[in-house]
């Protein structure tokens, strides 16, 4: 009882702080200095139609590299924590979740809980939707400089294709090797393009190592589509590896 009262008091305090913020909030009438610089210079300097993309990939590209690194660390830690616990549970014999043969579908051993087979509708639906989802993901991250979207969103869409595969057959096991390969190749290429920016253009991750092209076309805005494609592949691989790690904890 006293706990709940303290909690409510705490929330009332934070709530009054928030109320003060909302009461005194006056929306800006004009863009501030940074934002108006981005608004005025993006089209001319970088040739990108989507200003948010220009900020993320070029103006604040180093931050994006850091963000991708944080995601990579997260995926690595999730894999580490879950694989350790899997190894322990194997040694104590609490679960028999040890069919980690790479790249192929292993049928669940007969001693374990039998899953009902995935229905015809789900199997066919997965087969139909999977290429479309992958195509849409690729569209979203390759058009990041023109439309709302980009590498992170496209990568999440790619990972949703992986989620659909896992939902349609929870016993399916994926090899971590392909995911790791895609992820590390994309990451190294991202850094490599950044260094090319130092050598050929104005600085690290400068997108003008390629011609900026015609404003508003797919092959424009210099290296932005290239970088965002790499980010998309990397984010997709990282989310997929998290999904696969989490799904492997399922005791079949």
């Amino acid at each position: 009882m006293i706990k709940r009262l303290t909690l409510l008091l705490l929330l009332a305090g934070i709530g009054s702080l928030f109320a003060g913020l909302v009461m005194t909030y006056v929306p800006d009438e004009t863009l501030n200095l940074t934002a108006s610089y981005y608004a005025e210079r993006t089209a001319e300097d970088l040739g990108a139609a989507n200003i948010v993309t220009a900020i993320i990939v070029t103006y604040r590209g180093l931050d994006t590299l850091g963000e991708v690194t944080v995601l990579f660390l997260t995926a690595a830690i999730v894999g580490l924590v879950l694989s350790q616990s899997r190894g322990r549970s194997q040694s104590t014999g609490r679960t028999q979740d040890n069919m980690a043969s790479e790249d192929e579908l292993t049928p669940p051993p007969t001693t374990q809980r039998q899953l009902p087979p995935p229905g015809e509708l789900l199997t066919t639906g997965t087969r139909l939707l999977l290429p479309l989802i992958l195509l849409f993901g690729a569209y979203v991250f390759s058009h990041g400089h023109l439309t709302p979207g980009g590498g992170f969103q496209g990568g999440a869409i790619l990972a949703s294709a992986m989620l659909l595969l896992l939902l349609s057959n929870p016993a399916r096991r994926f090899g971590h090797r392909l995911i790791t390969l895609v992820e590390s190749t994309a990451g190294i290429s991202f850094v490599f393009i950044g260094i090319l920016g130092i050598l050929l253009a104005g600085g690290f991750l400068d997108n003008r190592i390629l011609p900026t092209g015609t404003f508003g076309e797919l092959f424009s805005a210099g290296a932005i589509p290239l970088i965002y494609t790499l980010v998309g592949l990397k984010v997709g691989a990282e989310f997929s590896s998290m999904l696969v790690s989490l799904s492997e904890t399922e005791e079949l």
Partner: protein, 118 residues
């Protein structure tokens, strides 16, 4: 309009904090944290909104010459894009640790896990 979004965002933060502090189940706490995270993102996007302006994407409707007078602030949007992605990573980490805790004690009740209690 921005005010409604902002108030909703702050309310979501409060709901999330209440849920995280009042529930004993770790999974419910993780859900509550996700709700609070969404609230923070909503508040940030609402701060960038400006009345009568449009999305920061240049095309025929928003020529580059008058962009500064026609678009909303793109910086909070870029910030929230980052925050959403990091939020997903944090949620995945919390879920992984929750699984680990469950494996150790066979329970997701936070009061069973007393190692760090003092």
């Amino acid at each position: 309009m921005a005010l409604i979004a902002m108030i909703t965002g702050f309310l979501l933060i409060l709901i999330g904090l209440y849920g995280a502090l009042s529930n004993r189940n770790i999974l419910r706490m993780i859900v509550a944290f996700s709700v609070a995270n969404t609230g923070v993102n909503m508040v940030l996007v609402a701060v960038g909104y400006m009345k009568g302006r449009t999305a920061p994407i240049l095309d025929e409707a928003v020529p580059a010459a008058e962009a500064a007078a026609r678009i909303i602030d793109p910086v909070p949007q870029a910030l929230v894009l980052t925050a959403i992605v990091i939020g997903v990573g944090v949620t995945a980490l919390m879920l992984a640790y929750a699984y680990k805790l469950y494996q150790k004690k066979g329970s997701l009740d936070i009061s069973e896990h007393t190692e760090l209690k003092w």
